[in-house]
């Protein structure tokens, strides 16, 4: 049996009420948080990488969630960044719905594709149950959101 130890969701990397309506602005706000936490350099440039990833195919599978992700030279340490938007963000999701939960997955360029996909799979699995998504959207404040997100991400 193998046990994967992933990054712990850091309190400063949880944004309980993201004010942005546009995907580009939302990504930049999240990357600035990651920069402030010492995980990412040059948020504007890192956003270009994440937008290139969106060109590869939208990172929202629908259901109000999105998983922007990339391996990048600009990432110093693998991390998750979680943001919640009560108003919703236009993301180009296949169901045309707005995104209310964004779980960003960042890996350094040295990470293997498999390791990065493992983190991505964990993020997607965590937000798959509709009940979990509802609980995250209704969680009280940053502390409540962080505690619940840590619980579901394992």
């Amino acid at each position: 049996m193998s046990i994967l130890v992933g990054p712990e969701l850091h309190p400063s990397l949880v944004i309980p009420d993201l004010g942005q309506r546009r995907r580009e602005s939302a990504l930049l706000d999240m990357l600035r948080r990651a920069r402030d936490a010492g995980r990412v350099r040059d948020p504007e440039l890192a956003r270009s990488t994440l937008l290139a990833r969106e060109r590869l195919g939208p990172t929202s599978p629908g259901r109000g969630v999105a998983f922007p992700n990339a391996r990048s030279l600009l990432v110093d340490e693998a991390c998750w960044v979680l943001a919640r938007s009560r108003r919703g963000i236009e993301w180009g999701a296949p169901d045309d719905g707005a995104v209310h939960l964004v779980l960003m997955v960042l890996s350094p360029s040295e990470a293997s594709i498999e390791a990065h996909h493992e983190l991505l799979s964990r993020a997607a699995a965590a937000l798959k149950p509709a009940r979990t998504r509802t609980r995250l959207i209704e969680a009280d404040g940053a502390d409540g959101l962080l505690a619940l997100a840590r619980e579901v991400l394992g």
């Binding site: 990172t59 990339a70 040295e110 594709i113 997607a124």
Partner: protein
């Protein structure tokens, strides 16, 4: 966009394309509800980045990429993330200008951390 930023973007586009072309990636992403419909668009963007880069730096990038699989690496804590050699004490991050690792000749992404 500075030469350093252009090369960093080129590198990240190469990583994206490597991921998209890797065996198993489409199936893995499909299981997550994600698709890879835009490979051609990323290839075009990669081409534009390469076309706009200074020739001497593109040659250095391509040479390192052919040898190591990656043309560019980050410097973290003054250590080249490619060959793990420590930068000389006299060396300083050059801002927007790329530099080559004196040991492995990869292009370095080395900016002062603030």
């Amino acid at each position: 966009m500075s030469t350093l930023e252009r090369l960093a973007q080129l590198h990240d586009h190469d990583l994206l394309l490597e991921e998209a072309r890797a065996t198993g990636t489409p199936q893995r992403l499909k299981a997550l509800g994600l698709s890879l419909s835009g490979v051609a668009a990323v290839e075009r963007a990669r081409h534009a980045l390469a076309h706009g880069a200074e020739r001497r730096w593109m040659m250095a990038y391509d040479r390192a990429r052919a040898r190591y699989g990656r043309g560019m690496v980050a410097v973290r804590e003054r250590v080249c993330a490619g060959c793990y050699i420590k930068m000389p004490t006299s060396a300083v991050p050059a801002g927007d200008a790329p530099v080559l690792c004196e040991s492995c000749a990869r292009v370095l992404y080395w900016r002062p951390t603030t």
